[in-house]
């Protein structure tokens, strides 16, 4: 099986290049994922760098651009991939080395969404309880693993990464706006006003297309806009 992988070591290379790799078909087992193939290729060429951890789509470490589409290598079946399999780092972020990108920008966007409960009311004696219906509103929001596939697939993020929060952070914004225990709705919405932070989203929906967890940041962004309209009435 043929691969073409983006290589760049800033200490040695003037500029990035694509290197071809061949994996012996005899080593490919049924049901193998792309990450398994990458690990075999790394055994052939140990200079090849990529992030990975859990290997089962939970940690979100191995997000990369696979044949032009962002996804997690560990949950991408090998057999569906067109050859040569072109692997590039997530687009729009600085490359540290090969498939490893610098996620500082992504994390600062996440931080800007203030992804924690804000509630200054006196603590109750037990937990802050939710009804099953209130808890249900968080489904499809809390599952995000911060793999950065969505934000780095978003053209609005490519053009204004420093000002637009990006789909991943906005999904988290809505996750806390939608939480019955959170009391900071006003501040959160104020923080999202202006032409950039939220409103650079033009419902392109690349985020929905690539999310390996099947989440829908575009819908979350729509809910935020709806809440803003309701507030302004």
């Amino acid at each position: 099986m043929k691969f073409s992988i983006y290589r760049y070591d800033p200490d040695q290379d003037d500029k990035p290049y694509m290197r071809d790799y061949v994996l012996d078909d005899a080593r490919i087992e049924p049901g193998m994922m792309l990450l398994d193939a990458l690990l075999l290729l790394k055994a052939q060429d140990e200079t090849l760098s990529f992030r990975r951890s859990c290997g089962e789509g939970v940690c979100g470490s191995d997000g990369m651009n696979i044949n032009g589409r962002n996804g997690l290598a560990c949950v991408t079946p090998l057999k569906n991939l067109a050859q040569p399999v072109k692997l590039r780092p997530l687009p729009g972020l600085p490359v540290i080395r090969d498939l490893v990108v610098d996620l500082a920008q992504f994390y600062s966007q996440y931080r800007a969404a203030r992804p924690w409960l804000i509630n200054d009311e006196p603590c109750p004696e037990v937990e802050r309880l939710q009804t099953p219906a209130e808890r249900e509103r968080l489904d499809g929001l809390y599952e995000c693993i911060l793999c950065a596939c969505c934000s780095t697939a978003c053209p609005s993020f490519w053009w204004n990464p420093d000002k637009f929060l990006g789909p991943a952070a906005l999904l988290q914004s809505w996750r806390f706006l939608a939480d019955s225990r959170d009391r900071a709705t006003e501040e959160r919405l104020d923080g999202l006003e202006g032409p950039f932070r939220l409103f650079r989203c033009h419902t392109i929906m690349n985020c929905v297309d690539v999310c390996p967890k099947g989440l829908n940041p575009t819908r979350a962004i729509g809910h935020i806009k709806e809440l803003m309209v309701k507030r302004s009435l």
């Binding site: 053009w159 006003e193 202006g194």
Partner: protein
């Protein structure tokens, strides 16, 4: 302009003008297909009706506002040098405003003409 006007209000303006543009276009196309004006006199009579004049003026205003929000979005997305973005936005704003006023003038003239013909 407040921050709210730059974000939520611009977005709402785009949605609402879109609704009006769509509704008016359906009406205008249907009207032109069903009873096409045969000549200048009939065009004048149609344009001279106060309701048509107001609806068309609103259409032009909605079109200009809709175009403004859309082009502004494109400029914010792609043009990052602030001086260049502001200059381009000023040019677009002037063009849209000028075109809008020009169409409004034409419509007013038509209304006055129709009133004269009617009298």
């Amino acid at each position: 302009m407040t921050r709210a006007a730059q974000g939520l209000r611009a977005w709402l303006l785009q949605r609402f003008t879109a609704l009006y543009l769509a509704a008016f276009l359906v009406y205008a196309v249907a009207r032109l297909l069903l009873t096409p004006p045969a000549g200048y006199d009939q065009w004048l009579a149609w344009m001279g009706q106060p309701l048509t004049g107001v609806a068309l003026t609103l259409f032009v205003a909605a079109l200009a506002l809709h175009a403004w929000v859309g082009i502004r979005d494109v400029l914010i997305d792609y043009v990052h040098a602030v001086w260049l973005r502001l200059s381009l936005m000023a040019v677009v704003a002037l063009l849209l405003l000028g075109s809008g006023l020009w169409v409004t003038r034409a419509l007013l003239l038509a209304a006055m003409r129709a009133a004269q013909v009617g009298a």
